[in-house]
Point group: C2
Chain length 412, copies 2
Amino acid sequence: MSTDAPTPTGPTVRRTATTLADGRDLFYFDDSEPYVSGQATRRLDDPRPLPGRYDPIVTTGPDGAETTQPVTGPTMRYDVLTGEWVPHAAHRMNRTHLPPADANPLAPARPGAAYSDGEIPAEDYDVVVFENRFPSLMRVPGTTDEVTHLDGEELWQVRPAVGRCEVICFSPDSTQSLSTVGTRRMRTIIEAWADRTSELSAVEGIEQVFCFENRGQEIGVTLHHPHGQIYAYPYLTPKTEVMLRQARAHRERTGRNLLRDVLDAELRAGRRVVLESEHWVAYVPAAARWPIEIHLAPRRDVADLPALTDEERADLADVYLDLLGRMDRFFPPAEDGTPTRAPYIAAWHQAPVGEGRDDLRLHLQLFSILRAPGKLKYLAGSESGMGAWISDTTPERIADRLVQLGAGTEES
Amino acid sequence: MSTDAPTPTGPTVRRTATTLADGRDLFYFDDSEPYVSGQATRRLDDPRPLPGRYDPIVTTGPDGAETTQPVTGPTMRYDVLTGEWVPHAAHRMNRTHLPPADANPLAPARPGAAYSDGEIPAEDYDVVVFENRFPSLMRVPGTTDEVTHLDGEELWQVRPAVGRCEVICFSPDSTQSLSTVGTRRMRTIIEAWADRTSELSAVEGIEQVFCFENRGQEIGVTLHHPHGQIYAYPYLTPKTEVMLRQARAHRERTGRNLLRDVLDAELRAGRRVVLESEHWVAYVPAAARWPIEIHLAPRRDVADLPALTDEERADLADVYLDLLGRMDRFFPPAEDGTPTRAPYIAAWHQAPVGEGRDDLRLHLQLFSILRAPGKLKYLAGSESGMGAWISDTTPERIADRLVQLGAGTEES
């Protein structure tokens, strides 16, 4: 285990890099004096007796004999029908010391406890990022990126899924949600996203970095602690591939950037613009497919989060919280007053690491699968079978509701 | 309302075409003497006082004044970021006479009742197909297919969504599922699918016909009556587009058909073959992405269901029921013995109507989102945001389980 010297990132955030007991990276991003996790007096080391994540797996048989197997990373196969890589995450890993089922692995360590069931050794933190313990994308040291062929068939390419999966905790407080962390903490989260994007973009084999949040049990989130994820893919995702293809065709035809032209057209039309700030514009896209869908784009042409200026980041913190607040209030509360917070997926589209830096443009796609309280949009035959989305509403209706919520009123 | 003379389809099926009170088409496919719905002594006419589906909508205001508005069909917008058409189904329709919420609109009419709450006027049927009352794809007579531009912006193309949505009832008995209807009824359903595919393929503006079934409330199915759907799209779906692109690239490179080569490779490898019959082969594809996934392909190169021979159809009836049975038994029953029937989507991929007839090849993609009893695979950030699937299992594990179930045992 090692602890780097804290290094400043941005105006108010202190970054402290360390490693967990099994060798995974962990990064604290502290925004308040005294920098809680960066203090030498606080415990940083992970006290758990975890085996190294790349150590061979030793199992003892019924006869007491030990067998040793190497850890293997996830692999991915090329789906020749669609041209997509599909990681299969059923790899062999050291899975001893699983936390109890009712534990919150994202909470800070209990003060004074000699031992932690969670993933975070520090007894307090502001924002923390660490490698997922059971990642679907991972490079086991010594893995080559060589393509092999399943069953000796030329059609079926297989490669190690050498990406990386990280978890980001937005707050030490399990009762918060990202919409309630406040501007200062949001600003720190943006620093953390930008930092991770820069660092992961430089990792060998990574083609794309994706910062996202799944919020709500309706989309399968089981941990209520406010957190998001960062995936570094060793391939271009299908959505990015298709957007790149569209952007290139548009540039060939017009000489212009597609996402810039879309933003300009939304501003000209005005009909679906949800909010405008000095540096950002949020709108419901003209062909929105989800029951709620918002795109948030910077006014300036920017490829990814690290390319944002301090002013753009500060502005983004306010705008992002504003939009998440509207998500929280989109549906009227239940009869007993309980808020109906829309579950959502917040997906940061960034330009890929290599090609296409000029064709894709940073933007957030924030969307919900909730059509009405208790009513989900299911991705059934048309969507899951044919990729053909059908919307039950119109982009203009969604925009009207979101604009109405700007005043903070909760009328429906 | 009109009733065509019954016409024979296939060796044992009698097809009777009629229309519902609001003008929608309905087709009975009867397979047993006396052909229950084709008999003149049985009621075929729909007794409901439905307004014509294309009649102007008359509303009475608070002052008693009537206003008349034309019915408008659904429109679709071109999503310039992805190149996909997205129908927005929030069109104006005549929605008087809604059935009670607890009614089963797919049940046969109650014998002797003067009036039906359901969609099917006959007091009995074998298999019936009718136009969906609230379709997301529909041609309102007089609609042109002209492309217009939203907000006057060249980027945002809009077109009428002039397709068609049909419902197919697999049995008059609400307690059945498709897996339990028996070989003879399954054969009739195949006739119905083939008939609808032929007829809808000839409709102006239709580019692709999709027969599918969503089974299970986990994917949003609210009606338990065994039924499926048939969509006729006025565009190539994204999945078909991408498969066509892959198939064409493969043909340019090798001179061969991609789906034929995939089938041959699966047969050579043998590792993921689930079953083989005289005319059909079922396998778990090498890059399966769903927790359960089976592809079923004919041995002969066939573009769509209408192109199947009688022998291939008869064989398909047996094979299809066998596969659905394995889906039903894939997970062990609950402790109290209740079966854990896997929810599934059954998606028939057929060659498009126009281009690509030689490149795409008929096959079924049958898949489930259930990872384990009570555990769904959610389509969250990576899947819904980036289109990047990640599987928690391996194709070989899925195949092993499906092969094991072939003997009808329920061991896990």
